[in-house]
Symmetry: C2
Subunit: 257 residues, 2 copies
């Protein structure tokens, strides 16, 4: 009863206060120790998984709506969201039909109709160190879980495609922006940094070329310390030069002839 | 009289057949002989310039709507459009107020209200050889003109920001995808290719590094011909290896360690 009333309230809220035809979906990647995962939500009372998402209020900027949706659906904040693509096919039910999707949502028919009506959806992604964040399920969600990017189940709507596209964008980003600041400890070794890149790319990289390229960016500061507790030839520790890192983020490491 | 009737017809069409809250804007860059320009439309009966744009029909994919809008507003087709960003601020009247914008559109008040209502706008860009295409004005447009990217006037809405963002994306693209296939003649010299990159980047590049990097991509085929009619040491001619070029476009030249 309480659930039904709450659902009715949400439906009226949705129709009154939000832009029609536009929604937001969020692909939150989590990195930790050589693993790359993505945050999925299990729909209340079902076994069906999807990305967190939301809608845009009439008096709200798109980007603000993305952050509010993130907070509302997962409890997460202080994450840097980046827009990557807007999905606008008429049919966005890739894995399941409209009827199947409506059944899978397990909601009153007028609510699921509203949820599955044609939307153009703006995709945002982020990459976090997943040991540092604890997602919390919202009203519509039974469970938040980090899934390995290689083991994503069949998702509602076109959410598998969204993850594929976001991952492509994240990999692309490595060719024009530095990465690692919030993902590695303050001091790290070159192998730590290489592992991060290899995890994102899903492939191994040549050690010497990697080091040469990284040092060439001029964003790393080599410390007079080596990693302790290691083998005889312990690797040097590095940290990011925050100012140069920020500049490279902003200017982007463009085509330098 | 005819104009007013046509406007009324368009307004009804807009309200009936198109998604509300979402629109499309198109940044068409034109390259030719060391110049980079952008295609702007002068609004009918005014001196005000803006980007070509459009809206999405209920039964139409977003991408199809972008191509239909391009054709409808400029007469252009066979241009490869790429999505670059979706603009969703509540206030998208950067250069002029709502009232000024409405006045500048010089349309019946109900039509300009419809046109300036809050939209989330999906931006697409393209880069063409502008000597190869001839834009044609549509019903709303007095004139289509190529403007030098360094001399863009104050535009309607947030269209200056859109051009800035699209140009950043185009420059970024140089770091992960090859460019030039439809922009250079079938056979070209290394200086021709370098001029294209320099024009897009708006900066000069080191000749030797440029050549090294380009050859490293493995997408160029050096011909046994030199450019004729030149100086004593005429430069070699190259052409793109179509298959390898297509592969690099698709795979993207990612971080190669």
């Amino acid at each position: 009863m309480e659930y039904k009333k709450e659902i009715q309230r949400l439906l009226i809220d949705l129709k009154t206060n939000y832009l029609s035809s536009v929604s937001i979906d969020l692909v939150i990647f989590g990195f930790h120790d050589g693993q790359l995962k993505v945050l999925l939500l299990r729909w209340k009372g079902t076994d069906n998984w999807c990305l967190p998402g939301g809608r845009i209020r009439h008096e709200e900027n798109l980007e603000a709506a993305a952050y509010r949706s993130l907070q509302g659906r997962t409890g997460l904040s202080e994450i840097f969201l980046q827009q990557f693509h807007t999905f606008g096919d008429v049919i966005r039910y890739k894995n399941f039909s409209v009827e199947e999707t409506m059944a899978m949502l397990d909601l009153p028919i007028e609510v699921s109709k509203e949820i599955i009506s044609r939307d153009v959806s703006v995709g945002y992604y982020a990459l976090v160190e997943f040991a540092n964040v604890t997602p919390t399920p919202d009203f519509f969600t039974e469970e938040c879980r980090w899934w390995d990017v290689d083991q994503i189940p069949l998702l509602l709507f076109d959410h598998n495609d969204m993850i594929t596209f976001a991952l492509k964008t994240l990999r692309r980003q490595l060719s024009y922006q530095p990465i690692g600041y919030s993902l590695l400890p303050d001091k790290f070794t070159m192998p730590d940094l290489q592992q991060l890149y290899e995890t994102i790319l899903g492939q191994t990289l040549d050690r010497r070329n990697f080091q040469k390229r990284m040092l060439g960016y001029g964003i790393l500061e080599r410390l007079d310390e080596r990693k302790t507790g290691g083998a005889h030839k312990a690797p040097y520790l590095y940290r990011f030069d925050t100012e140069k890192y920020e500049k490279a983020l902003k200017d982007e490491i463009l085509f330098v002839g």
